[in-house]
Amino acid sequence: MNSPECQVIKLTVRNHPGVMYHITGLFSRRSFNLEGILCSRVGDGTNSQIYLLVRSDAYLEQVVKQLNKLHDVLEVSLMENCDQTVFTMIPELVKMQ
């Protein structure tokens, strides 16, 4: 279930409590759109991976550039053609517990 208007940005970030605020704060203060967030730690927990569901609008290039400027963001990549279903399935994932 892919929406053509949306894309996923994959971030590798330093894993600490403030990093999510740096990212969501960027979206709110620059009035960028943010449709969904998924986050999990990777490996030994030094870094995390964050997946952002964003709208493919004219601001997308600016979003990526601004994310690249954040010191705690180590890597930014725009995922073409990825399956976005997981963003709509989160309630079911939690129900399974």
Partner: protein, 557 residues
């Protein structure tokens, strides 16, 4: 050897070459101050943390190196906020080290606890809440590297009190980190840019603060001369190109001269160097240089195509890029373009006040500009006086104008002047201010009295928030509200009671002598200049209009 967190911070500041820090002690940063007492670093005690923040900015803006301010937790930290935000907006390298309540109290609403990390996320280049003493060894050098690298900016380090106190054993100190100048510029794009310049008929250099930061002013001048390209500057770029140079067309934008803004509109190629197309410079962006191709050079990739899309863009250090560009530029004259510009200059010159209007700020500014040494440093506050200085002070070198450009912080001028004077002994510092602005950080007169610095405060006193009054006159049907002060203090008397010479400029022959004296006698002084409250800054581009749609400034009214 065992070192406490506070000692580590002080040691690493010394290692960075920091000679002066400024701030105010309080409960949560007392361990840091305790360690500072044993250090070679000079501490300048401000009277309000915002003053400390702007003193540090005065140091940073006049030297280009990161400067340090200190505050305690809670109100001390929040008082720094405006100076940090100001540094972010104007790309100033600033290190703010704040005390925080002890780690075990964080989150408990403890006395003088405030979430400084959270508060400074949107207004700093980067920020830290220090989690352990060991982390300081990485954080301090990294903070300086971030503040000074690429596009400079403020870095906040919030240090819980227990981490300042805890000791660890240190055998070897980390090495200094290199300042990152940005990667190698794209050669193909530089060739494309050169090609556009060589083919253009009416090119224009549009320069800003990035030229100051990359020390590219010499190469900008060579480029302008080689290809006969006129130059306009933003507020932040003033000083990079000598004001009296025939190729210099002054500041563009909201309070640019008529001829300047008309010429900008006629360019067929805009060579934008270290600028970010700020709305005060461009007016309505859709009507800004509609017929021009754009070359954009900036160290911050996110500025490229953010406001105005470019035909060719080169990301990186402006100086490095221009040095590669220069050999590819053909030497040429542009007689037709020069002729056109000369015509516009004749038809729409900058309107000077009458020579007999002795106390018109522009006349005072120019008189002081002629009297002061070429290396004098000018600071301003924010408002009409700031724009009059930008329009008419004869700047000759970069880093001689320190002004709050983007955030537009009233109260900036006096503490910034103190910071500049502290690190520029032998140079006169002139602080142009207004009665509204000066009162916003007037307590720093006490700091100035402590240090007896060579600062002259020229106070243009019109008893109003002048630029607010002007906008109410022009855009709010003369519905004046809250722009006139009901009382106005005796500023010369205030200065004297702080221990600083204070003068009132009287309307007589003595006034020229007094002005001369104010910048030649050692030590600080304040000169109160009574100004006609009805004097407006012209021309002015109304909000939302194109820069060629100015009001005022056509001729003598």
């Amino acid at each position: 050897m065992m070192y406490s967190g506070a000692e580590i911070i002080v040691k690493m500041l010394e290692q960075q070459g920091v000679g002066i820090v400024t701030g105010i002690p309080g409960g949560a940063n007392l361990p840091l101050y305790d360690a500072l007492a044993q250090s070679s670093i000079t501490h300048v005690l401000a009277r309000h943390e915002q003053g400390a923040g702007f003193i540090a900015q005065g140091i940073a803006r006049s030297t280009g190196r990161a400067a340090v301010c200190l505050a305690t937790s809670g109100p001390g930290a929040t008082n720094l906020i405006t100076a940090i935000a100001d540094a972010k907006m104007d790309s100033v390298p600033l290190i703010a080290i704040t005390g925080q309540v002890s780690s075990d109290l964080i989150g408990s609403d403890a006395f003088q606890e405030v979430d400084m990390y959270g508060l400074t996320v949107p207004i700093s280049k980067h920020n830290y809440l220090v989690g352990s003493v060991e982390d300081l060894l990485d954080i301090l050098p990294e903070a300086f590297e971030i503040a000074e690298s690429g596009r400079p900016g403020p870095v906040v380090i919030d240090v819980p009190k227990d981490i300042q106190i805890k000791t660890i054993n240190i055998e070897e100190w980390p090495r200094l980190r290199e300042k990152n100048k940005g990667g190698k510029p794209d050669d193909i794009k530089i060739t494309q840019a050169a090609d556009l310049i060589n083919r253009s008929q009416r090119p224009l250099l549009y320069i800003g603060g990035g030229i100051v930061n990359s020390q590219a002013h010499h190469v900008v001048r060579k480029l302008a001369y080689k290809s006969s390209i006129p130059v306009v500057s933003t507020l932040m770029g003033l000083g990079c190109f000598p004001t009296d140079d025939p190729l210099f067309l002054g500041m563009l934008g909201m309070h640019g001269s008529r001829y300047t803004n008309y010429i900008v509109n006629k360019a067929d190629l805009l060579i934008a160097l270290g600028v970010r197309f700020d709305d005060r410079a461009t007016g309505s962006i859709n009507k800004f240089c509609p017929g021009a191709s754009v070359i954009h050079v900036d160290i911050d990739p996110s500025e490229i195509d953010k406001i105005k899309s470019s035909n060719v863009s080169v990301t990186g250090d402006a100086r490095a890029i221009l040095e590669r560009l220069l050999p590819r530029i053909h030497q040429r004259q542009r007689l037709e373009w020069e002729h056109y510009i000369a015509g516009l200059k004749r038809r729409f010159p900058f309107q000077m006040p009458g020579k007999n209007d002795l106390f018109h700020p522009i006349n005072i500014i120019q008189r002081l500009g002629n009297l002061a040494d070429a290396d004098a440093i000018i600071t301003t506050d924010v408002g009409q006086h700031q724009m009059w200085v930008a329009q008419s002070y004869p700047f000759k070198a970069p880093r001689t104008l320190l002004t709050s450009g983007s955030l537009g912080t009233m109260g900036f001028g006096l503490p910034a002047a103190i910071g500049a004077a502290l690190v520029n002994p032998g140079k006169r510092v002139l602080c142009f201010s207004g009665d509204g602005s000066l009162l916003m950080n007037i307590q720093e007169l006490a700091t100035l009295a402590d240090w007896q610095l060579d600062i002259t405060i020229i106070l243009f006193n019109n008893g109003h928030l002048g630029l607010v009054r002007q906008q109410q006159e022009l855009f709010y049907g003369r519905n004046y509200i809250a722009s006139k002060f009901q009382t106005n203090p005796d500023f010369a008397g205030i200065a004297r009671h702080f221990g600083i010479r204070g003068y009132n400029l009287e309307d007589d022959k003595e006034s020229i002598f007094l002005l001369h004296q104010s910048i030649s006698q050692p030590g600080p002084c304040l000169v109160n200049v009574p100004v006609d409250y009805a004097a407006n800054v012209y021309p002015m581009v109304p909000p939302g209009k194109a820069i060629y749609e100015m009001i005022g400034g056509e001729g003598h009214e």
